[in-house]
Amino acid sequence: MHSEAQKDQFAKQANLMLLEGADREYLTRAEVETFCPLIDTRNGRFPVIGGFLQRRGGTARHDAVAWGYARAASELGVDIIEHCEATGFSICDGKVTAVSTSRGEVRAGKVLLAVAGHSSRLAAKAGFRLPLETHALQAFVTESIKPLIDCVVTYGAGAFYVSQFDKGGWVFGGGTDGWNSYAQRGRLSGRRGSACRRPYADAVAVAAPCAAPMGRREDMTMGTMRRSSRKTPVADLYLTRLVLWRLQGGADRRCRNCPSRREGRAAPTRRASGIEPVCRRPHHR
């Protein structure tokens, strides 16, 4: 983070992490320099005044995540049918009874929509709309270079993160385009803003001149609309927890003492750690 205002903002987010049972610690500038010497903390335009660290945090390779889910589901007795498109739902008296697919009908007592950026399209097939738009989240990967960074560095205020794959490629991300789209094209401008103002991006641009942009589809919510359950207007048809979390306000949820809680904003409901979240706003001092 580069300013006191950002420090306030990230203190709030860090407290929300504590609230959800995750861990984090505050690093001073000297500690940032020790932990990740590559970061130019004395940069004139963007001096780094400190940071927050989750030591057990890291990246999971996306293939491994998909395989992990698939293997666990398979072991629980789930049939995974590949190359099979859901084309519609059979709804009887407001209750879903079957999913029609490109390979025939699948009857079901309960149906869960778990399709990331395509939730709206499936919801439309079931006859309702969601407070979601699909946006491309921009990122790019460099060619392989020698190991330089062994952690994930994020800059939340600029929607930026960077890490290095085992194979050597650097992964830079990534803001959204700013408009809804199902396209998976990579665009330059969304990343240019975040990546090129990072002090170490210059070094990598020299070391790895070829970078492949990519876009990933994400569900984005409209403001902080709150939904109280995973249910949809159709009985026995459910949304995934991630979509639900975003509908509830996601990372915008406030510390429980903030005035915004009284204004009807979504408030944290679970305190697994038992630690009271305290943000650095005046009403806590």
């Binding site: 709206s120 399209r121 709309r129 969601l130 979601l132 408009w179 396209a183 665009r187 070829c210 942009p213």
Partner: protein, 84 residues
């Protein structure tokens, strides 16, 4: 480098401003999805739908755009395709 650069340039979106002509999307902003303004006067439930719910279509999408570097106070209709 030329390959990656060509790919990036090809991916830029052009927005046809009716006053200035075709311009890069970076100089424009989306004002809103095109919606029925009469719903804004509706009762609470319909108003919540008006504010929050989105069609999020895959295909032609009708919006109001604003050319921020052109005539920033004028909105224009623009239909955009949201699929590759």
């Amino acid at each position: 480098m030329s390959g990656a650069r060509a790919l990036s340039l090809a991916a830029l979106m052009r927005i046809p401003c009716p006053f200035c002509g075709e311009r890069d999307a970076a100089s424009s902003v989306i004002a809103a999805m095109r919606r029925d303004p009469s719903a804004a006067d509706a009762r609470a439930e319909a108003y919540a739908e008006y504010v929050y719910l989105r069609d999020n279509p895959a295909g032609a999408h009708k919006e109001w755009w604003q050319h921020a570097l052109g005539l920033p106070r004028r909105l224009f209709d623009h239909a955009r395709y949201t699929e590759p």
